[in-house]
């Protein structure tokens, strides 16, 4: 159905865009070990995105953008490269520019702790594909969360500069954390199949409290960023970075709508 496809696109786009941002760290990370780790995390999320995009296309073929007759572009690529910004359903948290390693770490922690909670519950989904994706993803996300948590604590407790940067980095992501727990009508309409993100809130708060405790940091108290007339990432209303990200990501594929890669 269209609701199931829409839900798959939410989960897929979160992973896809986060993976795109992680790939930007390639050749720019502070150590070779971090090159390897960040690429691994990006690959895990890219893998999740591909399965979820395929599920969306299977659940509702019309959600895949139409391409010229005879185009060999598979559904996962049509969805990735030929949707317009308005059709991407990711939360705004994942699209923000990377900032420094502290900001990226803070964002990765928030994202991973939240998505882990979602996937843990999604293992019980009535949709067997989603349940399978979630079962595999839980192991991956556990590693991602722990990796980010380790660096979050290390940077917070390292030097004065690294601590200042971590405080700033956390503040940077914080406005977009609120949106993670807003239940979307698509989620409400899929009881038993989708996870209601409000159910994950307490667990997220606990995980955050634990890490902030180890880091001796305060929970940020900045306000969450409003939606635009009630619409935010899940409804395709994104921040200004998203257009730049998509322009780059889609440039080659769009120049060759009949291309085979």
């Amino acid at each position: 159905g269209t609701a199931l496809a829409a839900y798959c696109l939410m989960l897929a786009d979160d992973a896809l865009i986060m993976s795109q941002r992680l790939a930007e760290w390639s050749t720019n990370a502070p150590e070779l070990e971090e090159e390897v780790a960040l690429a691994n995390i990006g690959l895990d999320l890219l893998g999740q995105a591909r399965l979820l995009l395929a599920r969306a296309a299977a659940a509702d073929a019309p959600c895949v953008p139409a391409l010229p007759d005879g185009s060999p572009v598979p559904a996962e690529d049509a969805l990735t490269y030929f949707r317009d910004e308005r059709e991407f359903r990711n939360v705004r948290l994942v699209e923000a520019a990377n900032g420094d390693f502290a900001a990226s770490t803070a964002r990765l922690f928030c994202f991973s702790a939240w998505r882990l909670g979602i996937l843990q519950r999604l293992r019980e989904s009535s949709d067997p594909v989603l349940a399978a994706v979630a079962a595999k993803g839980v192991k991956e996300l556990t590693y991602h969360r722990d990796y980010a948590a380790r660096w979050l604590v290390t940077l917070a407790q390292g030097t004065d500069e690294s601590r200042r940067r971590m405080v700033d980095g956390l503040a940077r992501s914080w406005p977009y954390v609120g949106e993670l727990f807003d239940t979307h009508p698509v989620e409400s309409s899929l009881a038993g199949t989708a996870v209601d993100p409000t159910d994950v809130r307490a667990e997220f708060d606990d995980a955050l409290a634990t890490v902030l405790g180890a880091a001796a940091l305060e929970r940020p108290d900045a306000p969450f960023a409003q939606s635009v007339g009630g619409k935010a990432g899940r409804d395709g209303v994104h921040t200004e970075t998203m257009g730049h990200l998509l322009a780059e990501m889609q440039s080659v594929a769009r120049a060759h709508p009949m291309g085979t890669w």
Binding site: E33, L43, L53, E161, S162, V252, G259
Partner: protein, 312 residues
Amino acid sequence: MTVAEAELETGFHETIEHEQRIEPRDWMPDGYRKTLVRQIAQHAHSEIIGMQPEGNWLTRAPSLRRKAILLAKVQDEAGHGLYLYSAAETLGADRADLTDKLITGRQKYSSIFNYPTPTFADVGVIGWLVDGAAICNQVPLCRSSYGPYARAMIRICKEESFHQRQGYELLMCMMRGTDEQRAMVQESVDRWWWPSLMMFGPPDDDSPNTAQSMAWGIKRHTNDELRQRFVDMTVPQADALGVTFPDPGLAWNAERKSYDFGEPDWSELKAVITGHGPCNAQRIEQRKQAHDDGAWVREAATAFAHKQKETA
């Protein structure tokens, strides 16, 4: 030289003659150690700098399958860099020091990475030709007389062959695609062919260190031998792919049972090696920038580890 030293040196040469391996704790001549450190470090640097030309396409790869393959490949190169820096460390080198030598231009990396990647076809051509040439150079190193290097090379060569096949397969896909895609592949091949041939180094009569390296079992074949092997291997692959190489002198020599081919522009190789290549400044600048930008992270990690130790 004392008697003890003479005995050690004899033992070293016997080990090499019997095609056995020198291990980190074994005695070795200073020149052997220095040559190896330089060679392994350059190789490690090449893996790390080599991430850049392909990494340039990570955010724009035109299919998710290719994006995943490319991200995994670039990650593998970081991994190769790690193994190789570790191998150099078994000879007493220090990774931070080697990185410093790279970003201050005191140690080199493979000149091939000083060429730009203006199209996505370059990702495939780097896999096919550049990794292909690298493998020709590297397979003999799996029999290097120095154990840790030989073992690292066995693992690296296995992964590089995989990358090479993936690169060739990408080009195969593109050649089955649109006219624009085929033109893109041919244009890329035209740019990379001569630089790939130059990856084997200068002609033998202009390669002064070859003899010593071969005697030490660090090098197993001359530059020209390897270059010929590469050409003979690659020409049929180009035919199968449907592309041509930009060399009017390229022709099968039935007598030699090998391909004749033209002379690369050695002045270009010299220019690129001495820092005038199209991307030398950019490659070093990016590596230096990443290293400098990461300094506070490394300092924080050190400070944190120190605090942990104090508390423990």
